[in-house]
Symmetry: D2
Subunit: 389 residues, 4 copies
Amino acid sequence: MDFSLSPAQLELQQRTRRFIADEVIPMERDPRQDGHGPHEALRRDLVAKARVAGLLTPHASPDLGGLGLSHIDKAIVFEEAGYSPLGPVALNIHAPDEGNIHLMEVVATHAQKERWLRPLVQGHIRSCFCMTEPAPGSGSDPSMLQTTAVRDGDHYVINGLKWFITGATGASFAIIMARMEDGSATMFLSDMDREGIVIERQIDALDSCFTGGHGVVRFTNVRVPASDVLGQIGEGFRYAQVRLAPARLTHCMRWQGQARRAHDVATAYARSRHAFGKPLIEHEGVGFMLADNDMDLHSARLAIWHCAWVLDQGHKGRHESSLTKVLCSEAQWRVVDRAVQVLGASGVSDETIVARIFKDIRAFRVYDGPSEVHRWSMANRLSRGTGHG
Amino acid sequence: MDFSLSPAQLELQQRTRRFIADEVIPMERDPRQDGHGPHEALRRDLVAKARVAGLLTPHASPDLGGLGLSHIDKAIVFEEAGYSPLGPVALNIHAPDEGNIHLMEVVATHAQKERWLRPLVQGHIRSCFCMTEPAPGSGSDPSMLQTTAVRDGDHYVINGLKWFITGATGASFAIIMARMEDGSATMFLSDMDREGIVIERQIDALDSCFTGGHGVVRFTNVRVPASDVLGQIGEGFRYAQVRLAPARLTHCMRWQGQARRAHDVATAYARSRHAFGKPLIEHEGVGFMLADNDMDLHSARLAIWHCAWVLDQGHKGRHESSLTKVLCSEAQWRVVDRAVQVLGASGVSDETIVARIFKDIRAFRVYDGPSEVHRWSMANRLSRGTGHG
Amino acid sequence: MDFSLSPAQLELQQRTRRFIADEVIPMERDPRQDGHGPHEALRRDLVAKARVAGLLTPHASPDLGGLGLSHIDKAIVFEEAGYSPLGPVALNIHAPDEGNIHLMEVVATHAQKERWLRPLVQGHIRSCFCMTEPAPGSGSDPSMLQTTAVRDGDHYVINGLKWFITGATGASFAIIMARMEDGSATMFLSDMDREGIVIERQIDALDSCFTGGHGVVRFTNVRVPASDVLGQIGEGFRYAQVRLAPARLTHCMRWQGQARRAHDVATAYARSRHAFGKPLIEHEGVGFMLADNDMDLHSARLAIWHCAWVLDQGHKGRHESSLTKVLCSEAQWRVVDRAVQVLGASGVSDETIVARIFKDIRAFRVYDGPSEVHRWSMANRLSRGTGHG
Amino acid sequence: MDFSLSPAQLELQQRTRRFIADEVIPMERDPRQDGHGPHEALRRDLVAKARVAGLLTPHASPDLGGLGLSHIDKAIVFEEAGYSPLGPVALNIHAPDEGNIHLMEVVATHAQKERWLRPLVQGHIRSCFCMTEPAPGSGSDPSMLQTTAVRDGDHYVINGLKWFITGATGASFAIIMARMEDGSATMFLSDMDREGIVIERQIDALDSCFTGGHGVVRFTNVRVPASDVLGQIGEGFRYAQVRLAPARLTHCMRWQGQARRAHDVATAYARSRHAFGKPLIEHEGVGFMLADNDMDLHSARLAIWHCAWVLDQGHKGRHESSLTKVLCSEAQWRVVDRAVQVLGASGVSDETIVARIFKDIRAFRVYDGPSEVHRWSMANRLSRGTGHG
């Protein structure tokens, strides 16, 4: 058992921390962003900075231009990047690209990698992941998938409606999940400018940290050549799991940074703002909230590190990643909510970054499986005696 | 002990409920509103509808044009009005006007009432209440008041900076709290277009339900005639309490409506949306959240009714209004947060009204004394043996 | 709407309060009690005192010797009685007798009343209610009832095993719930000394407030004459509801007294005990716990009063009594747990009454339907649109 | 970063686990125990078993007969031992002996070690730690120490009253904390049969897991030779910290085992007990509680491991041990409370071991500094910028 970081990890941690402090935080009030997220122009500027700093797409394999980070390495770097809402954009480690890169490294063909993955890793283009559907389609329950793919010669014809497709607007290509005639699911790759793909509208979401926001995407008789199937026909649900377990964990890592930021802002405020004769932090009612934050951040970080280590051992870590996702999304949420409360009027307004984090992070308890679905799958494993504890 | 509503109360409840359903909810997506709240034009349209329905400014005394509602009456009507974020705007019962009307009815002179209160009650103008100051001024701790008023002949000269002044933009007049040379505080009335009053900027707050948003207002050598003192010189802190105890309670009432709305939207969704083979509401994980909402709404409503009854008995109800404010702001918050969770993707976006309520209600745990200040004053009363329990 | 108590209610409240303070609390350390509860001799002494004070079995109808209290009246008197763990014993209002009296008043024959109910109301004898069974029998799910009653001439022959039968040891008679051949259930009355009834053992429960403790009772070919059927054949499940809704509520009332007691003891301690330079209560960390107690006690009391009023209106109040049971059992639990924490070492030991209350009250979240079953039935009503909120 | 256990740690973990399962759990209903804890005769039998298994006093240094465990090693072994309430008694790792052994290893003289420490490590005798005093003495606030030691020739004369002295009854010797004339504190060693030491009474505590229970000990003109001072004169407060930081952590380790046991019992029950048509665990309301337990156990274990690692690095870990104590005591408490709830009637009675664990563990939120004191010291460090997070 060893909780120490290697010299290389420490160097990466410090470098990322300085990069965020020096290059990214000063751009947080850049006007090229709105309720749907940072604009493409801002994203490109940020990515350029990360490229110079040697921090671009660090999780990708070295032959694609990344740093080939282990899961533990990612835990360290992604938390630092998450310290600013713009950090993951700069490092090109944001959802959904981060998870798409991971999945494509595992299952894409060489040709697919050259065509789509390499420019994605280089930060030149963006992608989206078209899985979630509005009612009565597939939300928390993937078996309710309604979008269909039907073979037609050497093509597949895709029809369906997807929503909450993060980054759809401005994405160059999509991974599309569709149901086959036999009930199985398959993933397809397609450029977004293909005929039949229409972004019907942008969703006004609470969060505004994802470039391209969240779109509603309609697929009408979209013809995808068989060579653009991602991986094997009928393996869509399995690949979704390949993508999701680590993707869940990288969410935890990035939000850990955001939560820590909110806590730091609140702590600094509580040290300097006085009321009733002393600094806020010397009031137990405030100090206890910050102590609780400290505990929640500690718990979340340890759970992330542990789960990352499990994945690094080659395990699937499905129980650990479910557990860590619930634990982090709820602990980090409490941290941010307490930070708002400590800040008072400054917390419920854009006077500090915290209100933005507050709006951004709320959806984390919903995305990638709401807490209730993960608790249910944890309980199922306990029921079968296959969990831990 | 009797929990029944009188026939008149029932009629008023039903009438308000219908008005909100028929006239106000259909306007919730009216484009004349933004992140700073409904525009004045929308407000005027809504007020006109309430005037027709005989529901305008119902808490004001009949000789001013109101219905002279008791506190219990208000509990019933304001909850119904709060069922839409636009309801309190329509009925002219929103902060800060509602509390200003109450205070001015108690302490303003006849001339002051004719000049400012009557048009306010009639919905023709709006007002603001300039008390809160940025650090190091008066926030939760009123004794830190920095704005000064100095006598100069038959005028007072006011200097200071106020922030989070709800409704300042577009307000016709203000009540201004300032410190006297002897350390006491006084309230002043002033038209907002008087020389030396400048709204420096709008604050970007999480909420967007108040017409005029929240402004930062600077007072530079503002000369107010002695005849425009509100009430007595040196009584500012006492009047603040006169205003605050019932104002806190009317906040609870309006937010009760909002929380109920969120719960109703979530319940309807949970009945119709299916996952894993049955409607969401039949999953205990979802059903229990809605049952918890039901309990929280019930607790909050009973506390409001009880506190209203205490005030109607002529008591100041300072302990009860503190208790009720904390209890409601936290219970209603939990209700709305659970509603978001039940709704999932639809909850973290503007697909339903709930995300808007979520953003609007967060500040309630901060406004009018954060939970921590009220818990502290409750503990002080318990310490002296003057609370209840 | 009116929260005031009538003069008669106030008098009864004050009289009960004085009786508990003067007559019952001084006996709390009486050695005639152990881990299974007060001994019969102590019970008789306490009952004698209540008889003198005119407070014995006050909920029974006047013709049986009670005061014919309404549900609201009971809310007031039972809370006062519950201020001591021995108070409900003294007033003869403890489970299961209190609920048995209520049920028998509604459905017993005249002969049954004269034989069993009258001496029960007079405090001369005790009774028990034999419904709950160990696995795989009827616990939270009444449909799993395993005990059988088979007609044999003008008798019924009962076989089965019941457990957690409160007050069985020392009870003169029992109400026994058994399954009929057609799957319906029937309640039977029987003296406890009848052949075939054996108390196999006492259960060591956390609580020690019930005379007779909790027993495991075996019924082996117990022959009960048809004239001792309680009410109608096949109506057992319905009667269980008749008994349970108000019985749940009287539990809330009694525990409200216990929780208030724990809070009062903790508050007195926090006022007098110093640490770190001031009384504990002036530390926000302690004061906030007591403020939270104050809120929880207030919420629980209002919910009790409201539900009592609903029952007094003649409604069944099934939703309200479920809601109130969950709300009270959880709120009162929090109050007692916080009281333990405030008291520190004195809280986790018998230095004060609070540790005893702590052990006694834990089961309330389980008895009469655990929180989970009530949340589920509340959710079912919300699902059908028949709850409130 | 590495979460794996070494082969030696795994062997020790498995051996301890088997020992507890095979030798200790079968004795849990041994009649030689009561509300004040296991009797000395039972303790000796258990210790003898651990001696045979090579698991006695494993934290002591090898030259005293222990295994010289690191803090991480202890985390692993003590959790396993804690799986039974009798496990720590058997391994001789229970409070207060465990902490006394640690302290004496660091500061006792050779003669003191031979006289008191060696037989203590060998399990032949027990000790107690006399620090806590009743009001108005030293409880949470050590500066309120009232017991005095006055120099008289080559002796010190001790006077004072201590309470909640765990294991006092039956202890062979005591470490006594007393105030010097200059306000500093000193620790003294004394046999318990010395003149002037009287155990006035046993305290009836909620817990019953400590041999000897908790006593009230009066010191009246107790004469202790100067050679029996433990360590240096005036260093008492510092030694208390030397003892407390690791002692707090070993508490966390042992209770982790107890909480895991409660969870396992509840999980097994929830798998086998049916209600409403399926096993309890398949009801989300139950399954979610068990999933929450899984998360809480995981968080607590990771925090323990991390803090143990910090101590193993040679750091004092005061922030980490405070944080871990609060986090564990509250998380483990929730686990046990949920286990009770899942078990229902079986949880609130001695039908399973869980009710005993429930009573035993409550005090952990109070002992060794209540949560409030640790939150306060954490907040103080955050205030000075010396915490982490």
